[in-house]
């Protein structure tokens, strides 16, 4: 039982970090970023390149992922999303753009990094063994703690910095924020860059444990969508809650339901649809998002 909870917390911390980036982008621009999973994979590959091919320390790789993805996010927002949002008749048109970017990133990853599974050697060795009840490798604990630290840092940034306040104001009411002198286009760009950066950081963290490959992008996006639906789209606390809930459900489901075959995700999806039928806005979302 303790093992299940420990696994759930570890999964949840990573999931929450992925969901945070997605929900940030959604709350600022009302864009469902289909390319989020691909950004995550890209971040993983950047870390891999820096650490394995250039032989630099892991922390450098992590920073490189964050910077590359932040720049990429800012460029995508400024040159692609902003013009389309301005000119299209319906908000949903950005979905085609987002899906196009997802395909494009897939193609770029394929050309630059190939289709092989890539991993980074363990950063710390050894396994924590508490009485045979919780068994967890030290590197997973380290990554889990790092993920939680990043989440705390992100929340602190959103709450106490000037940029964070501006972005929260934008998420609440775009027009009002604009009237108060918030530069909408600038903070949209910063928000997108920040969201992409978070995706890159998670990719960099996870490449040490599970590795990355080309095919991971799409399923990761779907999982991230699930999390922000559970918690409520566009709400930061909701994304964190959604991430941890999904992590727990996966961990519990894989143990409890394993006797019935591979139906964990079927059960999760089905219960999610029932849940959303009862509470459409998720746990903490605003009605009609």
């Amino acid at each position: 039982m303790e093992q299940i909870i420990a696994n759930g917390l570890y999964l949840g911390a990573q999931y929450a970090l992925i969901a945070l980036g997605l929900t940030l982008i959604f709350s600022l621009m009302n864009v469902l970023n289909f390319a989020h999973g691909q950004m995550y994979v890209f971040g993983g590959f950047v870390t891999y390149t820096v650490v394995v091919q250039l032989g630099l320390p892991f922390i450098v790789g992590l920073f490189a992922s964050a910077i590359v993805l932040a720049v990429m996010g800012a460029a995508i927002e400024k040159f692609l999303f902003a013009p389309v949002v301005r000119r299209s008749k319906r908000d949903e048109s950005t979905m085609l753009l987002a899906a196009g970017i997802a395909f494009f990133l897939d193609a770029v990853i394929l050309l630059f990094f190939g289709e092989k599974q890539r991993g980074v050697p363990k950063i710390v060795n050894g396994v924590l063994n508490l009485d045979m009840r919780i068994i967890m490798p030290y590197d997973r604990i380290l990554i889990g703690v790092l993920a939680i630290l990043l989440i705390v840092a992100f929340i602190a940034f959103m709450h106490y910095s000037r940029t964070g306040r501006a972005m929260r104001a934008l998420a609440q009411d775009k027009v009002a924020a604009q009237l108060m002198g918030v530069n909408v286009s600038r903070y949209s760009m910063i928000g997108f860059a920040l969201g992409a950066m978070l995706a890159g950081l998670v990719g960099g963290l996870l490449v040490t444990i599970t590795g990355v490959n080309l095919g991971m992008g799409g399923p990761t996006s779907v999982k991230a969508f699930l999390m922000i639906m559970i918690g409520g789209a566009g709400v930061i606390s909701g994304a964190i809650a959604g991430g941890f809930i999904l992590g727990m459900m996966e961990s519990v489901g894989l143990t409890v339901l394993s006797a019935y075959g591979d139906i964990t995700y079927l059960v999760i999806f089905a219960s999610l649809m029932v849940f959303l039928a009862v509470r459409p806005q998720g746990l903490m979302g605003k009605p009609w998002g």
Partner: protein, 323 residues
Amino acid sequence: MIGKKLLGFIAFLVVVFVLVPLFISATGRWDFFYTLTSVALLSVGAAGVWLTFYIGRINIGQGAYALIGGYVSTILVTQANVSFWLTLPLAGLFCAIISVAIGFPILRLRGVYFAMVTLVLTEVARLTALALPITNGAKGITSIPLPGELSIFGLTIIPAFGTLSNPRFGFYIMAVLLMIITYLVLWRIVNSRLGHLCRSLQQNEELSASIGVNTAYLRVLAYAISSFFGGIAGAMFASIAQSIYPSSFVVADSVNFMLYCFLGGLGYVFGPMLGTLLLYFGWDLLSIAREYQLLIYSGVMILLMLVLPNGVLSLLDKKEGSR
């Protein structure tokens, strides 16, 4: 005005039934028949997605209904020995009934929430197909017999596909006919009272509810019609491929159905047809670019979105052009 539309329709018929086959037999690219058949069938599914767009919902769940339709038709043909031509409407009806049950709660959702639930629906369909015994799990159902002959009062309307010298051509004709019927139905719906009511839902649901439009009934109806299209497209697909697997229609296919609509233009009935043709056929043609296929494809998609954010058919929009 009517005459002009009729002329356009006849020109379209001539192109798809005379010029395209002539062109293909002249160039010898028989594989184009298969590609174009896929285009026609996918555009039937996309027509359904377009109808849900028309009531203001983003539908990324058409893959689920295509999969369900495919399985219903296949299971009826292989296990109950029902004629394929009877299973085609049955598959559509089955999907419509399921979509009413699912749609009733989830159609209360809007915007991104509805989109994401329908996306999840595709995964649910795939995982259910993997878990159920009747669908034969991951192995799928293979070697489905080709459609037999359809006759009324001894009069053969459609010959058995097994006896045709060129079944590919037969499938092409069938698929295109299905597409034409679908779009005629769609066009009729949009230009009827129902269509006007749907448009009011797209613009402002509360307002139309307040003047007495039964919005709950309307959106379930539109969703059911949409799923019907998805079901028959999937059934036909399974029959052409003569096999169906849980991975025949996945999330990527659902997303593609939506993209076809976007690319063609959400404001135009024939948008999804054009979008499907451009994206699917373009993808097929780009296979000569080998490893750069996806790069060029997605690059063009992004560019099109930047230049024509309201779809390719918005080129025809004269008001927009003169402004």
